[in-house]
Symmetry: C2
Subunit: 366 residues, 2 copies
Amino acid sequence: MRTLDVQAIEDIALGAAVLGTGGGGDPYVGKLMAIQAIEEFGPIKLLEPNEVPDDALIVPTAMMGAPTVLVEKVPNGEEVIGAFHSLESYLKQPVYATIPIEAGGVNSMIPLALAARLGIPVVDTDGMGRAFPELQMVTFHLHGISATPMVLCDEKGNNIMLNTVDNVWTERLARNATVVMGGSVMLAIYPMTGSQLKQSGIHGIVTLTEKIGRAIRESKSQRLDPVQTVLQVTGGFELFRGKVTDVARKTVGGFARGESKLEGIDGYKGETMTLNFQNEHLIARTEAEVLATTPDLIAVLDVETGRPITTEGLRYGARAVVIGIPCNPQWRTDKGLATVGPRYFGYDLDYIPVEERVRNSKGGQR
Amino acid sequence: MRTLDVQAIEDIALGAAVLGTGGGGDPYVGKLMAIQAIEEFGPIKLLEPNEVPDDALIVPTAMMGAPTVLVEKVPNGEEVIGAFHSLESYLKQPVYATIPIEAGGVNSMIPLALAARLGIPVVDTDGMGRAFPELQMVTFHLHGISATPMVLCDEKGNNIMLNTVDNVWTERLARNATVVMGGSVMLAIYPMTGSQLKQSGIHGIVTLTEKIGRAIRESKSQRLDPVQTVLQVTGGFELFRGKVTDVARKTVGGFARGESKLEGIDGYKGETMTLNFQNEHLIARTEAEVLATTPDLIAVLDVETGRPITTEGLRYGARAVVIGIPCNPQWRTDKGLATVGPRYFGYDLDYIPVEERVRNSKGGQR
């Protein structure tokens, strides 16, 4: 166990934005919530998975809603506490610890703010190793763990408890309720035992995001290229460098869907990269070839600072590096690919690991 | 207290279709459920409101969904039991009795089937005195009673418990969930005390629907005009007689919305009546004048048999009588009209009681 202080939160938020792969909301808002909670309630306890008793009740927490909406509505934190207590009450068991559903984006911060406020620990584990747009897209689902009973709360005080027949129904009903409630709600979901957490989660992920954030932060003083340090810490690959020339984005059915284009600079002059996203980046391709697809991570970093840029943050003319990071192996199983592979999202593409695509790339290493 | 047998169910279902004012679903399906429940579990106990203890827990039950969808999906009864037990569990109190939310349409039958199955009584009271399309359109709402906690269940086993900030949010969230779940769900809603029921409900309504149904049934053997007997029992007025020439109906946002037209016959030759509906009929007008509006009841009866015709049942060429029945006085209050008056539904019309409209009608009594 170790404690997380304000600097750790800053680093985690930054690293989480890289793993947020363009989506996951802007961690800035979530960061403020977490920092404020630490300042009010003290540092957060981060547990290693092994420290969790097998029969403990672990409840992941998150916010839900299209990132474009999350930027508009600043949550006050009370809603997630309401969701949490409803579930505790229903399950008739106190919650031992919480975890992030997804370590990427705002949802890296929500459980930290909650944990500080409620005096419970967070476990260094998530269900994605990144961010994904839909609720069944977690390793817990791959292991047959039910998303419900779950609770959703909005900032007005509306509270919904779902008990569904499967996790796809959970995504459908929760997403719909989120749109009706105004686009941004808090969830307490996938209640599980310590034993289930240990078997199914992606471990060490909070620590990884902290490392990524610290690497970006320290690269300036260490006179290192921040993009290179990110690639080093994540085991990722540079896919493209370019100037943003187009971003087409619209909020549809609770998701921010769209496409952005970058015009190549430096060694990529004359090429154009297209990024497709549904909250998170799903496909990265040039006219010549596909360079990375979901479930591998596709992140956009600022050329100078290495800082990640979300799809809401993409501006015409911005100079960016597109990187690809191999996903957690759980996503490369048959069930993993059926859940988050390109075909699930409607792309007529087979999944090929990014390290292979890069190795075989016609452009070679530029 | 008295018991309801199969004949009573038949009469109630028929009378409920009159008070269903064109909507409320086809009671035939609900009738089968109730009759089957009686045959399996014995007659149903119908209590007078005065027999209910002040501190008893009363939970209205209903089905929800656009009537056009309800006709397609036959419910099996299990869902409402699931909804009911979830709420009992949450409120930590056994339910003393149930009542219909609305005495019009299929929802006259649902609580009867449930009551027979669970061995609890039904109280001779509802919240509308007819059918209305939205969940806040009940006298309980006028009296400040909260619709939540409430539970919705579908036939697949999905179960949603809502706790909302107001009854309009309940309608919004429940309606949306209904559309997502496939259009037809069971509800346990507006949990209240016996005292609240006595203060706010519309009493004697189940008995009234039974009288209407019996009057239609017996008119043939008594050589009476069935339409006249309906008018007598309900205190209603004939508004028009015509042949159905047009029905335009579509399911939008969980409601069956549309308009039907009748070409006048007998004393109404040369005139055309238009009926606007949102599940239930809302406006009845000719080219010359408006003859009735919500919240007064507008029902369509078969010219020969006096049997009510729902909007799904309207066929080109059918010869029908359109009747108007004064609504319960609770709906004529300021809050009542704000909740169910023409302007709530978007019609630029003031509410004038049907008895006044008929009295002042240019067409006179034909």
